[in-house]
């Protein structure tokens, strides 16, 4: 089942590209010219994105390197373990929505220390795999289209 899914993932992109280009030729769309026009738009998006992402990543870097985030985690750890939440994965739970790279390194560490097939290893794997980095998603999607106010009035 998994191998089958992996094969689909590998084939999906090239097949999609082929289908799009084939349809374009059939419908007599000037494919290359249109592609270049769209590409320019993509370039504009990434230029618009840079200041948003840079600002956010710098703020996160300051918070992490100062040790403030770690201090917060060790403060909240006993609270979480008192409700039965395994203290070992508490840092992961807090880092996962904030920083993708930090969460990934914590997950690797847990897997390395406790083994991938231990309860903690599987728990960390599930936590890492089942969600995305909230702050990154918001920054990229809002940044690329120039939304500055993240909430509705």
């Amino acid at each position: 089942m998994i191998e089958w899914m992996t094969t689909i993932s590998i084939w999906l992109v090239p097949i999609t590209v082929m289908m799009v280009l084939l349809t374009a030729i059939i419908k007599k769309v000037p494919a290359y010219e249109v592609f270049v026009e769209g590409g320019k738009e993509g370039l504009k998006m990434s230029v618009s994105l840079l200041p948003f992402l840079l600002g956010m990543l710098v703020a996160i870097a300051i918070l992490r390197s100062s040790g403030a985030l770690e201090a917060f985690i060790s403060f909240i750890q006993p609270l979480l373990s008192s409700i039965g939440f395994p203290a070992e994965v508490a840092p992961l739970a807090i880092l996962r929505p904030i920083s993708g790279t930090a969460a990934l390194s914590v997950t690797s560490e847990i897997i390395q220390t406790y083994g991938p097939d231990s309860f903690l290893g599987r728990l960390a794997s599930t936590m890492q795999g089942s969600t995305d980095t909230t702050l990154y998603i918001l920054t990229v999607y809002f940044g690329a289209i120039g939304i500055k106010k993240w909430e509705t009035p």
């Binding site: 270049v36 840079l54 100062s66 097939d117 998603i137 809002f142 009035p153």
Partner: protein, 192 residues
């Protein structure tokens, strides 16, 4: 609110560093963070130029309109503000399917195009209801195969690297459903 969150992250970090003796690390991290952002945007640029280009071709060829029609029953309920057969619907479906198959690379440009179409509808620099619902679903990440985690598990000689797929799908589903419910509650409060 984002202005305060952003400023507070930096302020708390710097004040904490004063007492923690980590000012040197903070000073270093400032520029490393900025560098990291440029590298990240550079790698996103190639993906964005390629996929937005391909999607423009798909749009001109009428494939996107077809996609929008197909997605109507599902997307209509989640995004009642988006008019029928609007291109945003096509992009939303494209983004969801790319996420589902673990094509994060392709999912982001499609999602950004969806956001752009939603921005055309709202004509404001504020987040709209549809945008919020869309991002809630995206952050809870509807994925079938968590490829990165499986790779790490393989690296550390797991006896069953893919064993976590079922629990991951279950966790994702719960997160997505909870996200949608919470979004609906907040929407009710906002609209009142």
């Amino acid at each position: 609110m984002i202005n305060i969150i952003w400023a507070m992250m930096a302020i708390i970090g710097i004040v904490f560093a004063m007492f923690n003796g980590t000012m040197e690390q903070v000073n270093e991290a400032l520029f490393k963070g900025a560098n990291e952002a440029v590298t990240l945007v550079l790698s996103l640029t190639s993906v964005l130029v390629f996929w937005v280009g391909i999607m423009r071709v798909a749009e001109e060829a009428g494939i996107l309109r077809q996609f929008a029609k197909m997605s109507r029953p599902l997307v209509k309920r989640l995004f009642p503000e988006i008019p029928q057969d609007h291109p945003a619907m096509g992009y939303i479906l494209a983004n969801f399917s790319a996420n589902l198959f673990g094509l994060g690379n392709a999912a982001t440009p499609m999602g950004i195009k969806a956001m752009e179409e939603m921005k055309k509808l709202s004509q404001s620099d504020r987040a709209s209801n549809s945008m919020i619902t869309f991002l809630v679903i995206n952050t809870s990440s509807i994925t079938l195969i968590p490829t990165t985690v499986i790779a790490i598990r393989m690296q550390y000689q797991s006896a069953a690297p893919t064993e976590i797929v079922a629990s991951t799908i279950l966790a994702t589903m719960i997160a997505t459903i909870s996200g949608i419910i919470i979004d609906r509650i907040f929407r009710k409060i906002r609209d009142r």
